[in-house]
């Protein structure tokens, strides 16, 4: 049980840090959209963080869910803490997977319409902030899942 608890604490700590990064990135997504679409200004880190308000909302939601894990752990509610990691992590992985699929679809589309396919675009698509944070999210998610399995048995 002590070992299980330490898994949860590690997962929760990682989720908290990732949560803050998601919230910051999501906020920049919204900021970038406002500056580039509404006031014709300069976007921040536009290579990595897209101008997409909806993606911003998704990232902030993931961030809040991740942070809820630490909040509930501090209040002693392990079920809600683990639930936050699994839902936040699951969503983060879905976002990451979707971006991979969207990149593949982009490649297929270029081939269908016979247009130039630039490698730089593919790489930047795969190195977007939602992608990178999604890869990292695998760690708290798997740790959380391990804890859930132990808790269930």
């Amino acid at each position: 049980m002590v070992r299980s608890k330490s898994i949860l604490i590690t997962a929760s700590l990682l989720a908290f840090i990732l949560g803050l990064m998601y919230i910051a990135s999501g906020s920049i997504c919204i900021y970038n959209w406002i500056t580039s679409s509404l006031i014709n200004g300069e976007a921040v880190l536009k290579q990595f963080i897209p101008s997409d308000p909806w993606l911003g909302i998704v990232m902030i939601s993931i961030g809040l869910t991740y942070n809820a894990s630490a909040y509930y752990l501090m209040r002693g509610n392990t079920v809600l803490s683990i639930a936050s990691i699994l839902v936040g992590g699951g969503l983060a992985i879905i976002v990451m997977g979707l971006q991979v699929l969207a990149t593949l679809a982009f490649v297929a589309d270029r081939l269908v319409i016979n247009e130039e396919l630039r490698l730089s675009v593919i790489i930047s698509n795969l190195l977007r902030i939602d992608e990178i944070l999604g890869y990292v999210s695998l760690i708290p998610f798997l740790l959380g899942y391990k804890f859930y399995k132990e808790m269930k048995s």
Partner: protein, 686 residues
């Protein structure tokens, strides 16, 4: 063997159960997935019928899938259909699918159906989930208490299906009926018996059709459908006597309907307690508990719901691009060029096929992948059990607009296509809630409107194009909620029903189920493309190549001067009297007329009317629209009259009156808002 002896018998089995209990899976397992779909008489609620053979009876058993219901009141279309079927068609067996993981709710339905005098077999489904939650249902105990066969099943894994078939066959052989399953207390029972006597004596015709005890209970409950039936059969003196007995019952128990529901629920709970055995001392935490703790959380639930909806749309739009472009290349490129190269065809026929049918229907078919993928993910969310949670989470917000949480599902479906959105309102029990949701569903910006936004915003909005397109979706949501509130406060006034919905356990989606649902929903779009839109593009073509002066020839499609002399030109000029304050000319106005057939036609029509190909349409549009007039045009397209297929769905669901109301309110609202934006925008821009 002689001919008579070899003749097969036919028996009817009805399948009923609360929503999300695995009813469709059991139906498919029993019938081998072979079903034909029709409509219930008088309504457009889908009726699914399948068959299986019973060699033991030398018979063919027809299985009818009844709508998912919680009880047998007269408050919802689905419940009325189910109970009318059981009463009128008198199926040989009614199979009630019960949820072993939440037995009380299913037992309430079982008791209600038994009171109807049906020959009931219970399929106790999801016994595995109950076990994983730390308890098991003693089906033999349940059988003993209810006095009817109970078969444990795990439908998704095919467990218990053969046993269920055998039980159905046995029940056909020896019919069982226990109408007096629930006792409502000495005083009320005395009144019920007295009413039964009165009804049997005064109208044997009625009591031959309906169980007298059930009629008496429904009369006491104030069931309008049954009261009107009783009124038709009995004399006014008997009716007075029945009413007196009802008043007497009210004095004894207070609100009779509430009392009867309470007694039945109490009995359902007691039976569930008797038939449940805990097999694990500590209740295990299920995936459902874990996920629901966050997905239905009072703070996190809403942003997570919005996120999941965003991912649904992104999946559909991002992944459909290569498929849509593939269809475009195939139809508008290869096929169209091939038809144009057929020199032996007359010019008019080549033009009709290439510029009319192929260009028009092709412009629509390119949206098939986005719609199919949208419904694919929506079906997955439904199968997993998330859509029920979404309705639950959004309920609080929608209640502020006097709408029920369940409205969210049709409104979201509307972003894919308005037709299935209108059909999805069937799941809303309250009639007024259902009507208002169907009336506002066409305000959801369907995927057919998107190419119009993209074309116009891309042409005239420059850096603000994305913001302009996004604003259409926000406006769509704001308008749907505001108009819903307006209807709920005026013509459809009344209390909004609370959230009553079983939250099913989360289950892994079944690919066959998901694909079947996706196909069922996408089919509407394909049928529309093959019928309404096909006809629409031929009309557009005909009106473009003919005019008051007669036949103008296919050249009209290439030459705007000739086109202005066509019927389209004529209509556009007539309607531009109204649209000129918004800065739209006759050609853009004429394109709107055809949007009534299907919104997808607008882009193609603009191409024809402006004498340009779709590739150079944006360039031409930038000379036709200013940013302001382009934006008001997009707003008008968002709101004005729904397409003909959506109106047809509203007509079949709610009647002609509501189809007319929808068309009228949307045109008027679109005009007012577009005019206001024009005036205010004009003042701001100067």
């Amino acid at each position: 063997m002689d001919k008579v002896a070899s003749k097969k018998h036919k028996y009817i089995v009805a399948i009923v159960g609360i929503p999300n209990v695995g009813k469709s899976v059991i139906f498919n397992k029993l019938t081998g997935g072979k079903a034909w779909v029709g409509n219930w008489p008088g309504v457009t609620v889908e009726k699914k019928v399948g068959r299986f053979k019973a060699e033991e009876l030398n018979a063919e058993i027809e299985v009818v899938d009844l709508p998912g219901i919680y009880s047998l009141t007269a408050y919802s279309v689905d419940e009325l259909i189910a109970r009318n079927f059981i009463i009128e068609e008198k199926p040989d067996v009614v199979v009630v699918i019960a949820n072993a993981a939440n037995l009380e709710r299913s037992l309430y339905l079982i008791l209600s159906i038994m009171e109807l005098g049906a020959n009931v077999v219970v399929a106790l489904n999801m016994v595995d989930i109950a076990r994983s939650e730390g308890y098991e249902i003693l089906h033999d105990k349940l059988e003993q208490v209810l006095g009817i066969p109970v078969v444990p099943t795990i439908a998704v894994s095919n467990v218990g299906i053969e046993e269920l078939k055998k039980s159905i066959i046995n029940s056909i052989r020896r019919k069982l009926s226990r109408t007096k399953i629930v006792s409502y207390g000495k005083e009320l029972e005395r009144i019920i018996s007295r009413m039964e006597e009165l009804l049997t004596r005064s109208s044997p015709e009625l009591t031959n059709r309906y169980p007298s005890r059930w009629l008496a209970i429904k009369f006491l409950e104030g069931d309008e459908d049954i009261i009107s039936k009783i009124k038709r059969y009995v004399s006014s003196s008997v009716l007075d006597e029945l009413t007196k007995l009802r008043h007497e019952a009210e004095k004894v128990v207070g609100d009779i309907e509430e009392y009867i529901t309470e007694v039945k629920f109490r009995m359902a709970t007691e039976i569930a307690r008797l038939a449940t055995r805990q097999i694990s001392l500590t209740a295990k935490i299920s995936v459902t508990d874990i996920l629901d703790a966050i997905l239905t959380h009072k703070v996190l639930g809403i942003p997570l719901a919005l996120s999941i909806m965003y991912l649904l749309f992104r999946f559909a739009f991002d992944l459909s691009a290569p498929l849509s472009d593939g269809i475009d290349v195939l139809i508008n490129g290869i096929l169209r060029d091939w038809v144009k190269s057929l020199k032996f065809l007359p010019t008019w026929l080549t033009s009709l096929l290439a510029d009319g049918v192929i260009a028009g229907v092709g412009a629509v078919l390119v949206f098939l992948p986005v719609i199919a993928l949208f419904f694919f993910v929506l079906s997955i969310l439904e199968d997993i059990g998330y859509l029920a949670r979404l309705a639950f989470v959004i309920d609080k917000i929608l209640h502020k607009f006097k709408l029920p949480g369940k409205s969210i599902i049709p409104l979201i479906m509307g972003f894919g296509c308005n037709v299935p959105a209108v059909l999805a309102t069937r799941a809303i029990e309250d009639e007024k809630d259902r009507k208002v949701t169907a009336l506002i569903a066409p305000l959801s910006s369907c995927s057919a409107r998107l190419p119009v936004y993209l074309t116009i915003a891309g042409a005239v909005m420059g850096a603000y194009a994305v913001a302009a397109v996004m604003s259409m979706y926000w406006l769509s949501i704001i308008l749907a909620l505001s108009v819903g509130l307006l209807f709920r406060s005026t013509i459809l006034r009344g209390p909004t029903t609370g959230f009553i919905m079983e939250l099913p356990p989360y289950l892994a989606p079944r690919i066959d189920n998901v694909l079947m649902k996706t196909w069922e929903r996408t089919k509407h779009f394909l049928i529309k493309a093959g019928t309404v839109i096909f006809l629409g593009v031929i009309i557009v073509w005909l009106l473009s190549v003919t005019g008051p002066a007669g036949y103008l020839g296919p050249e009209a499609l290439e030459n705007p001067d000739i086109l202005s002399k066509s019927w389209i030109g004529f209509l556009g000029k007539v309607f531009s009297v109204f649209t000129s304050p918004m800065g739209w000319d006759w050609r853009t106005t004429a394109a709107l007329i055809f949007g009534f057939i299907a919104k997808e036609i607008i882009v193609g029509s603009l191409g024809v009317l402006l004498g340009t190909s779709e590739e150079s349409l944006r360039e031409v549009l930038s000379n036709v629209f200013t940013p302001l007039s382009g934006f008001t045009y997009m707003v008008f397209i968002l709101i004005y009259v729904p397409c003909i297929a959506t109106l047809a769905s509203i007509r079949s669901e709610l009647g002609l009156k509501y189809a007319i109301i929808t068309a009228l309110y949307q045109v008027i609202l679109a005009y007012i808002i577009a005019l206001l934006i024009s005036i205010l925008g004009g003042i701001i821009v100067g």
